[in-house]
Every structure is written in C-alpha cells, then in structure tokens.
C-alpha cells in the first residue's frame, strides 16, 4: 500500500511536471481540476470575504431598528425598495446587512468548534493509535459513549449545562465532534505505525512524543483535512440548529439560525425573513461539503487514478 502510494506519487510527479516538486502542489492542482471542489472553494471564499469585509459590504447597521420600515419585502417584490435590497424583518432591520454579519458568526463558529474537535481529537486519537492496549480502550470507549448519544441531543445537554450562548454552543459542537476526528486519526496512526520509517525514527533515538507528532502525524493529515472541511459545514448547521432552538446566539446578534427562528412565526406574512438565512446556511454547508469531497478526491491515494 505504502509502496504503491509512493510509486504512484512519483509517477504523478513525473507526468505532471517537468521539474520535481512537492506532492502538495500536485494535490492542489488535482483539486483545481475537480469542478465540484472548485465550486465549493468559490462559495467558501465568497463567504469568507463577506465575513472579513462585513462592515464595508453591508449597507446598514445590522442591529439598527427602523419603526417605519418593518417587514419590507425584497426589492423585486411589490412594495420593496432599493434601500433594503432583501427587505427588513419585524423590527425593521435590514435583512442583507444581517445576513452579511451572520457570515461572521457562522464562520467563527465553524473555525472554533472544528478547531476544538481537531485539536482534542487529534491528540486523543494519536495517543490511542500509538500506545494501543488500555489507553486505546479507555479513549475509544469514551468516544463510543459520546457517539452513542444523538448528535444534536448531546449538544443540547452540554449547552443546557454550560448555559445558552454562542460561545458555549461552539464548545458543545466542538466536543461532540471530537470522536470523529479521534477515530480517523487513530485509524491513520495504526496504519502508519507499521511503516518502516517509524522504526527508523526510533532507531535514530527519537522519543515517543517526537515519533507521534513529528514523524507519524504529518502523514495522517490528508484524511484530517477532508474531515475538517466536511465538519465545518456540519458545525455551521448544528450551530444554526442550536441558535434556532434558542440555545446558541442570543438576540440581537445576527445569526442565521436565530434569524430563521425569529421569522418562523411570520412565514405567511413575510416569507423573506426566514427564507434568506435558510438559503445562506444551505449555500455555506453546500460549499464546505463540495470542498470536502473535492479534497478527498485530491488527497486520498486510494481514489487516485
């Protein structure tokens, strides 16, 4: 398997480039040849740009109430105006501005919760896969217990315990995602552990910590990157779910899930209050999933043709 991979990697390098270069560039090139992956990348880049430049892009202050402009429809509807392109909500706040600021919240939530899951999961999974025996059993059984609870239910329990709020929602989503990362990394570490370079590292006098994190871990990155990308989408979705239930972002913070919850009661009178945040969530999650699939195709040696 390993030999195969290396051979394929070197073959690939020879076919695609005149000069030798790092396989990373080949993988990037492969990602750019993958249409869905590029589509995902574009969507995510747009969201990221929106989030970063939110103050410049939004036409209004997202929290500014306007009693005269309550529930204005979007510009293309009867009664809409160019002042509020996507209409306003029941407090007269500009929908477009709130959506733009919502991108900040969602991306932060994704980064923080995936970060928590990635760091904890990597360490736990690597220790389990490397030491095997009882540490492996202990860690992985705890992971199994976490996985045994329904995803959102456990998040609700954790948030209920910590108290509602965006920060605690991020922690909760991070915790419930730990087992996924731990499992993937454990599996990769188990596979890499058998390779000769690990024995070679030990034979030159490297200690356990060095072998795990300097020698083995960099070889396990491909599946982790894929899972992180897919996990991003899922974290945004769960965050919106928690906010919808009132456990995540609290008003007046413009969070997409909370906006849906707020617009729910007036869906017949003002469909736009609920629909646009829904579309935003859909696009963000879709973008991360497409990118994740594209990355998997580019990074997974088993799918390489």
């Amino acid at each position: 398997m390993a030999k195969n991979r290396i051979q394929k990697m070197s073959l690939w390098a020879k076919v695609t480039s005149a000069e030798d270069r790092h396989p990373f560039f080949d993988q990037i090139e492969k990602l750019f040849k993958n249409r869905t992956g590029v589509a995902g990348l574009i969507i995510i880049s747009l969201f990221a740009l929106t989030a970063v430049f939110a103050p410049l892009m939004s036409p209004h202050d997202p929290d500014e109430n306007s009693l005269y402009d309550q529930l204005k429809p979007p510009v293309w509807n009867e009664g809409g105006s160019t002042k509020n392109l996507l209409g306003t909500d029941d407090l007269g706040r500009d929908m477009l501005s709130r959506l733009i600021y919502g991108a900040r919240v969602s991306l932060t939530l994704g980064i923080v919760s995936v970060g928590i899951a990635l760091i904890c999961g990597s360490i736990l999974g690597a220790l389990a896969g490397y030491y095997k025996g009882w540490p492996d059993n202990l860690i992985m059984r705890i992971m199994d217990i976490i996985l045994a609870f329904p995803y959102i239910l456990l998040a609700i329990v954790i948030v209920a315990y910590l108290g509602p709020g965006l920060r605690n929602a991020m922690i909760a989503i991070g915790i419930i995602n730990v087992p996924r990362f731990a499992r993937i990394i454990r599996a990769s570490v188990l596979e890499e552990y058998e390779k000769d370079y690990v024995t070679a590292a030990r034979a030159v006098g490297a200690g356990n910590r060095r072998i795990i994190f300097n020698a083995i871990f960099p070889n396990c990155l491909a599946p982790i990157i894929v899972q992180a990308s897919l996990g991003f989408g899922e974290a945004i979705l769960s965050g919106a779910g928690l906010s919808f239930l009132g456990l995540g972002a609290q008003p007046p913070l413009s969070e997409w899930g909370a906006m849906i919850a707020q617009g729910r009661s007036m869906i017949l009178r003002a469909w736009w209050v609920m629909t646009f945040p829904g579309i935003a969530i859909l696009l963000a999650v879709l973008g991360f999933n497409l990118l994740g699939d594209g990355l998997r195709d580019a990074l997974d040696p088993r799918l390489r043709d």
């Binding site: 390993a2 000769d196 024995t199 034979a203 490297a206």
Partner: protein
C-alpha cells in the same frame, strides 16, 4: 570487564510469547564485534538475524517479545540495563542502523535533508547552519552528487539507490561506533547493490566504524565481512573468519550452504546445483537434539537426542556439531 570488544553478546535469548507457546527467535546467541571490523551474520529467512539486530537496538516490541536472558555489552556496558532515556542517546548516536527497505524507511512527508538533520539535532546541540553543513558533509560522504540541492528533495523524488545512500548518511551522521546493517542491499538491483556495498566498505575505512552486517547472501558476505557467524533457527551454528569459513566450512549446514551457491561455467551435465533437503523447522516445533539433524546428511543417532555443544576448533573457529566434539 573485557573492554577490548566493542560489542559482546553473551547468551542472548529473545523470546516471543505468542498464542500457542513461546517462540525462541534468538536462543543462546553469543558473538563479539571488534572495533573496526565487519562481522557478517548469515542465515535463512526467519532464523533470527533481524531479531538479534533489533535486540541490540532494543527495538523488539515488548510484549509480545522479551529478552529472556543474556547480556549485550557495548563498550563494556550492558545496554539491556540502561533506562530508555539513556538508550535513546545510544540509538543513532553510538549504534546506528541501516534498514532493508529504502523505499519505506524514509518518512515521505519530509525532505531527505531534514531527516538527516533530525538525527544530528537529536544528539548534538548545534546551530542550524552547523547542522546543515554536517548534513551536506554526510551526503558527500555517501557520494550523493550535488548535495546542496539534493537535501531539499523528498524521498519519492529519489531512486532506490539514492534513498539507501540517504539512509546510510542518516546512520553515519553522528559518527557511530557500530552500524548494524540489516540486509542493506537486498531490496536493490544488482548494479546498485554493488555500488552500495562498495560504498559501505569504503566508509568503514574512512570512519573506522564497526559493522554488523546481516544478510542471507553468502556472496555479499564474502565481499564485506572479516568474520562470519552462521545462524540457523535462532542459534549460531558456526563462526569463523571469512577465509576459513569459505575454504574449510565444518558444520554440515554451512557445507550445504556453500555447495548450493551456483558457479558459472560448470557444465550442466556434470553437476546439478545441490540443495539442502527439507525445510527450516518451525520455531514452534523445534526438533530434539541438534536443530539441523533432520536435514543433515551425516547425522548420527546422538544428533537426534543430544543438543550439540559449541566446539572450539582454534583460531576463533567455532562450530556447533557432534562430529567435532
């Protein structure tokens, strides 16, 4: 303590506890390696050569493995008694290892230069610049052309022979006293094999390191070693200096090995290539008495009952056979 031996192995026993019993992979093995010499360790696959090497480096996974007895004296110190932290200072620094598989023994995600640098970094406190110079020096020593640019390459960009050179450079990086080469040329094709063996011979002279050279290839041994030990089913059967072993092999197993080397130019009609009948005994079901008697052409009845003693024939030539007792 006899300090003149660089490495002295006394009655080493490395056993593996597995389902169905105890595997005696290395059973009562003793030998010495002197400073500046190459000792060849020959034997068939599974006879315990690699386990012997791994025991010296303390790389045998415990469990299922365990060192059931014996001493490994390196410069007079029993390395089996060293704590792991001390042992780490020995590995790669005083004793280094060259592996069989150049394709998989290098970490695919780091440049070869970084991997050699890591060895130096682990054992010596040097600045980045000094380390870089040492790496280039090591590459030059193993005759890698254009070392300044080659250190930036990744293992997959190199050929098998070049990678084996990198592995040798890693083994040499800290000027070890002893290098354990575990079938270093087996995975390479014949021309590269010759280059690597030639390189190792020259390096030994340049660096004055001793080599424990493990192989199943008698031709390679003749080229490399000054003394040879022949292993069979976890025990040493015969040991002598290389000329004696090739000109007057005593043990029936060694004689059998020698006569099963094909010789070019011998008429096809006159002689078929001789073989040793039978199979290596399973380590689970080792025969009574001499381990080799079932396949031995000159076996007597006592061979099936009594384990033969190690007989000293003088001049360091020892043989484990009833015939010479």
């Amino acid at each position: 303590m006899a300090a003149e031996h660089l490495l002295e192995i006394r009655n080493l026993k490395t056993y593996f506890d597995v389902r169905g019993g105890v595997l005696k992979a290395v059973d009562d093995v003793s030998f010495t390696v002197e400073a500046g010499e190459t000792l060849g360790l020959v034997g068939e696959s599974g006879c315990g050569k690699t386990v012997t090497a791994n025991s010296i480096m303390r790389l045998v996974p415990i469990p299922p493995g365990r060192i059931a007895g014996g001493k490994i004296l390196f410069e007079g110190v029993d390395i089996l008694d060293l704590p792991e932290s001390e042992m780490r200072k020995v590995r790669g620094n005083k004793i280094s290892m060259i592996f069989q598989e150049p394709m998989t023994s290098l970490n695919p995600v780091f440049t070869v230069g970084d991997q050699v640098a890591e060895v130096i970094q682990l054992h010596e406190k040097l600045s980045q610049r000094e380390i870089r110079n040492r790496v280039i020096e090591a590459f030059r020593l193993v005759r890698i052309p254009a070392p300044e640019s080659r250190i930036k390459e990744y293992p997959h960009q190199m050929s098998g022979g070049m990678r084996q050179r990198v592995i040798i450079a890693m083994a040499l990086a800290c000027n070890p006293k002893l290098m354990i080469a575990d079938e270093p040329s087996t995975a390479l094709d014949v021309t590269i094999q010759a280059q690597i063996l030639d390189l190792m011979n020259r390096l030994k002279e340049e660096t004055d390191a001793s080599i424990l050279f493990i192989t199943h290839d008698l031709g390679v041994i003749a080229e490399m070693a000054q003394r040879v030990a022949v292993m069979y089913a976890g025990k040493i059967m015969e040991a002598a200096d290389v000329e004696t072993l090739f000109s007057e092999p005593k043990h029936p197993y060694t004689i059998g090995l020698m006569s099963s080397i094909p010789i070019l130019g011998i008429g096809k009609k006159e002689k078929r290539l001789s073989t040793i009948p039978g199979m290596v005994p399973s380590l689970f079901k080792l025969p009574q008495g001499c381990l080799f008697h079932e396949r031995c052409s000159v076996a007597a009845t006592e061979c099936g009952q009594l384990e033969p003693p190690m007989v000293d024939l003088g001049n360091g030539h020892i043989v484990r056979c009833h015939k010479y007792a």
